[in-house]
Symmetry: C2
Subunit: 198 residues, 2 copies
């Protein structure tokens, strides 16, 4: 039981499928039937393992939070230089968003439906540490002077928006999948140049 393959563990399969439907495909109001179909299992197994649809959704939401959180933690507690931290984080982020492009949008829609974010305390501690580093870089003249919070907003905006909003941006800007992928690949350099003073 403990050595059971994760691939065939139905509970795990359902959860991963739900994540795929939400975070990868962005179908935020998929029904339990649709998720069950996508997982290739009987719908009532969702009730067996998760009791209710709501419960499954809450668990998936928590998972999403942890994922965001871990990514954040990784960048802050590495002992790279500031610039390298940013650079590294861009790599991990773009890697992760290939799998789950709609993770952040999902969280927003959930929060707008009354679901709320947990573990603010710890996150704040991480951020305060980061703000200090940002301030140091400003003193050194490596980045423009502004409130560190604004730098963080710039950073996450430049990084996330083109991914999260891809359907809208790709369509309005007249790209096809291939050319938009290319655009995204080029973004790392663009972002580094935008954030740091040459």
């Amino acid at each position: 039981m403990s050595a059971k393959s994760l691939d065939t563990d139905t509970e795990h399969l359902i959860k991963e499928t739900a994540k795929r439907v939400f975070f990868t495909e962005g179908r935020f109001n998929a029904t339990t039937q649709e998720i069950a179909d996508a997982a290739g299992v009987n719908r009532t197994l969702i009730n067996y393992y998760f009791r209710s649809r709501n419960n499954l959704f809450e668990i998936v939401f928590q998972d999403a939070q942890i994922q965001e959180h871990d990514l954040m933690e990784k960048i802050i507690f590495s002992n790279l230089s500031f610039k390298e931290k940013i650079s590294q984080h861009l790599d991990t982020f773009f890697e992760q968003t290939k799998k789950y492009p709609y993770l952040e949008i999902y969280m927003v829609t959930q929060m707008n439906q009354g679901n709320c974010y947990k573990d603010k305390e710890h996150m704040n501690m991480l951020l305060d540490k980061f703000y200090l580093e940002v301030a140091v870089e400003m003193e050194k003249g490596n980045i423009d002077k502004m409130r560190p919070e604004q730098f963080v907003l710039n950073f996450v905006s430049l990084m996330s928006f083109p991914v999260s909003m891809r359907p809208l941006l790709q369509e309005t800007m007249g790209f096809n999948n291939e050319s938009y992928d290319k655009l995204l690949e080029e973004r790392k350099d663009v972002i580094m140049n935008t954030l740091f003073i040459k």
Copy 2:
């Protein structure tokens, strides 16, 4: 009939309420009952005026597109200098997003559910015109050199992301409503400084 007040025109009231529920409150899977309640009308009036829930949603989606479109057109066909165009657009955008912060996210979730964007042709024409202006500014040395498309991505990202993702960002960054509002107010200057070379 033609001179009827728009405030009491039920059809109009329902549509505006739906927009409020979706774009202002971000409750993307509100039921027809919830929308009717929010509008203070009988639910079946939605069927009377819009035939089906789906039809209402499509109409609202179209409205959203037109709104985005008009905003885009405004900036491009003004005869201000490039920098003033950007500046002006930031003002209009922030003004608009006070009313409809979740308009863009709504469009993305709709598109992920199979709804698709219309009128690409015209939008492309607008963008091409804008790309040319961007290129000129780069030549002049007012903005960093990059593909004009990347400049547009930077621009919209810096502008939209902190608004669209507000629930997530505000929570994770530990702001309250008031302090986040303040942060947003400061953003115009930050964005101008980030986009333009001093």
